[in-house]
Amino acid sequence: MSLFQHISIKNKLVSIILFVSTLTMVIGFTIVGISNVKSLKKEMHLNTLMNTRLIGEYSVAPLTFDDNAGAENILSKLSTIPGAVSGALYDRNGFLFASYKRSDDIFIQPLYKNPDELTESLSFFTKNILKVDHPIIYNNYEYGIIVIQVETTLLNKKIKDFIYIMASILAGMFILAFFLANRFQKPISQPILELAKLTRKISVEGNYDVKLERSSNDEIGILYEDFNNMLQQILIREAARDEAEKKLQKEKERAEESDQLKSAFLANMSHEIRTPMNAILGFTELITMPDSEVTPEEKENFIKLINNSANNLLQLIDDIIDISKIEAEQLKIIKKDCALNSTLKDIWQSFLEIRKHKGKEKVDIRLNESALEQNIFIKTDPLRLNQVLTNLIDNALKFTEDGFIEFGYEIQNGKQLLFYVKDTGVGMDQKKKDFVFDRFIKLEDNSSRLYRGAGLGLAICKSLVELLNGKIWVESAPNIGSTFYFTLPFDQVHASENSMKIVDVNEIYNWHDKTILVAEDEPANYIYIEEVLKITKAKILKAVNGKEAVDMISNNSNIDIIIMDIKMPVMDGYEATRRIKSLRKDIPIISQSAYAMPGDIDKGLESGMNDYLIKPVKPKVLLSILNKHLNQLSPTG
């Protein structure tokens, strides 16, 4: 059987067919042969028996009339019967009466038995001789016994001939069966060989996008179909796997990138925070040194530098908060009616101021005059639009030493607004343009001069513009300048200007009849607010936590307005506000917090606060907000 395992299917099939057909033939031939031999033997037996009877009957008369010669004459006829060896005729007493022998060397035996015992023919088969003893009975008279011996060699020869013929037929059939089996095994072995070939091809090439042609409806046909289905499934699975792999790869890349960026960010931040801190701490120390010989002009200059550095620091922190909000998808777009022209004008004016602070008076900042002629209101988030433009102009200012910065907008097809900020700065090449909007990317020029900034401004701009359903891009040439473009949907409204507007006028307020409660646990902050409010001559009360503020309100009905810090010990600003509002519903509460995350403001408004300020609070802003609420409270004052 192990030999059988190593041969090919084709040979297996041929062997099986040959084995079965040969076995069948051999069995068939054996059966036919045996029956043939049997019938031959029987035929010979019957022939001999008949001859014996005939001769016996012929011998009746010679026996009757003691005619030995006649009997001999009859027996001599045996010579014409092929294979007859001898014949003997015994009379009814058992004495030999007449005999015949083919050759002289044959011995005729006397009858060693009583003739009366023999009532019917008896046959004896020995190796080569068939002997028949037959009683001669005629008309009920017993005449004697005839014994005839016949050679069976003739039979043996016949059997031998028969075997030879059968063997040659068998050989012929075997050869025929071999050829036929070789021919007819193909429909079975061929598809299996094809399947094997294809499987090998698949395993070598790894290509599963192949198919087997089904040619039959038998088990192999079903196998082919199942195989095709399997290949199809493998293909589908492979595609899914590839996709998942790609996705994972992307995720991995992103994770790696993110990790890299975080590292870069940390390194950057460390540098960016230290730089302004250095200036702030250094100059304040110079100013506060007891034996310093700083002139008042120098002092003023130092303070300006300190202020500038602090502003930079604040800007950086704002940027970080914004980018983290964007990444966390928590940045909310609050669309309002926005007076486009006044917004642009405000920005222009503030930059004229900023330019001075930065010492870039050489740079001319222009607002495109054509834009000013139109008075357009659009629905957008003014705060974010302001932020984008401010960032872009700030960026332009950073890279421009002389020349100009121009910004403005135009309406395209009445559908969208195209804003632009053009500068004559260092510009950049194509390579840098591709990732200028990526986070933490900073532009460095050939002189390796490091520009200030965390590399977040443009990334924030891009995200904000996209949140406002617009697009941002840059056109630039090195040493000629850059132009940043962004679009916004032109969603025009005809509404009055009701957006929050900060009055940028140096007004002197007089609140000598007002009492302001400042709830603030941090002494430095309280001192700052006290200093700002000094000029208004208002009466200022101090509470160091929420609970104290509540107590003071319940004891003092003269308090007109409250400035409430959110994060305080004992009782926080939200809780205090709720309690105060339950005592005096109409008293305005303005929160001030370093919390700039969205939700904090909402939470404050929810607890009953009327307005909010975000630290650091600029004096002008604080005064303007207080003014707004005090006026509402007592329009006559």
Binding site: E57, V60, A61, P62, T64, D91, R92, N93, F95
Partner: protein, 195 residues
Amino acid sequence: MLNINFKHIIYTFFKFQKLRAILFILFFIISFQSFSQTNIYVLKAVYLEKFSRFITWPEESQINNVSEPFIISVIGRTPLTKNLEQIYSIQKINNKKVIIKRISNLYEIENSHILVIAESEKKNLQNILTLTKNLPVLTVSEASDFSEKGVIVNFFEENNKLRFEINETAVLESPLQMSFYLMNSAKIVHPVKDN
């Protein structure tokens, strides 16, 4: 007790194997003597019974009727008659009692199954044969040329051995039927020609 086959008698009486060889030789001497000398007529008489085994008589001869006798008629004078009477006083033919009739008149032939014609009837042979020609009677003789003349069976001696000849034409003309085996043992006279 007389029987044609002495060998058989001896054999049945003495079944002892050892005695067989001695008895065998003794018997041969006796039988040879009797056969060649006196007992040729005994043999002939016995042969008549044996002939009857190979011959079929027509139904009219009452051959199968056991109550009717088997009749052997003898015409003329011959020693055979005495032997016939001796033997067939006991011996039956076809289970029938045998009657031996000595006849002188030809008309007595009727109802006979076998007619033995003695040599003494040589002159009268043609008349006898004319009469028996169409009768179911087996004619037997013991004269040299009787068979030529139309007798069906005729005994003769050859090499000291009793033989018989058969006139085939006479058999064919007779209402009797004769077995081929009998003719095969006999010398055929006047064979029937195939034409």
